[in-house]
């Protein structure tokens, strides 16, 4: 089972790194945000996996909160882009 976890973790990490590549490359702000969005989704999944690995149900809550915050973050940025300051 551990091997399975390692593989999953590895894939997530790889996805994260690839997405981060776009984040740093840009070129426009929305591009970075798209990358950020993807990264936060990957991290949400990662948090859920941590709960699995440590067998701690409570970590699932963290994933849920993280999902909400990620969502709010993107919407805020989007509205901000639309409105100026």
């Amino acid at each position: 089972m551990d091997t399975f976890y390692y593989i999953l973790g590895g894939i997530l990490l790889l996805a994260l790194v690839i997405a981060a590549f776009r984040f740093f490359q840009g070129p426009t702000a929305p591009d970075r945000i798209v990358a950020l969005d993807a990264m936060s989704i990957i991290l949400t999944a990662g948090l859920a996996m941590l709960a699995l690995v440590f067998h701690r149900f409570i970590y699932i809550d963290v994933a849920l909160i993280y999902a909400i915050l990620g969502f709010m973050g993107i919407v805020s940025i989007a509205r901000w882009m639309e409105k100026g300051i």
Partner: protein, 113 residues
């Protein structure tokens, strides 16, 4: 160790922004980064290898398998405080902007004598 260094680095980057950036908002971000670095540092201090969250939510968990809860509690407090200060700072920036129509800190030094 690398965590300490990374946290300190985050702090110093924030401080660098405070010292060098001209845009008020960037300076505020710099201050938040300083805070964030300190918070990271606190968490790093409390971290124990193999330790889990200090919550006895499931049977069988023992104290010696847990990370230090104190820094987490402190960070929780410190984050909220930092957030509050940032909010006030942003409010001040808004006022400054409304009055001076600029965010360049160099142009905001009418108080002298």
């Amino acid at each position: 160790m690398i965590y300490y260094i990374a946290s300190i680095a985050v702090m110093l980057i924030g401080l660098y922004a405070v010292l060098v950036k001209k845009n008020l908002i960037k300076i505020v971000i710099g201050l938040s980064l300083m805070d964030a670095g300190t918070h990271l540092l606190l968490v790093a201090i409390g971290f124990i290898k193999g330790g889990t969250a200090p919550i006895f939510s499931e049977p069988g968990l023992t104290a010696d398998a847990m990370v230090d809860p104190v820094p987490q509690a402190l960070v929780l407090t410190a984050i909220v405080i930092g957030l509050a200060v940032t909010a006030v700072a942003l409010a001040l920036v808004i006022r400054i902007y409304a009055q001076h129509k600029t965010l360049d800190i160099r142009k905001i030094s009418s108080l002298k004598w």
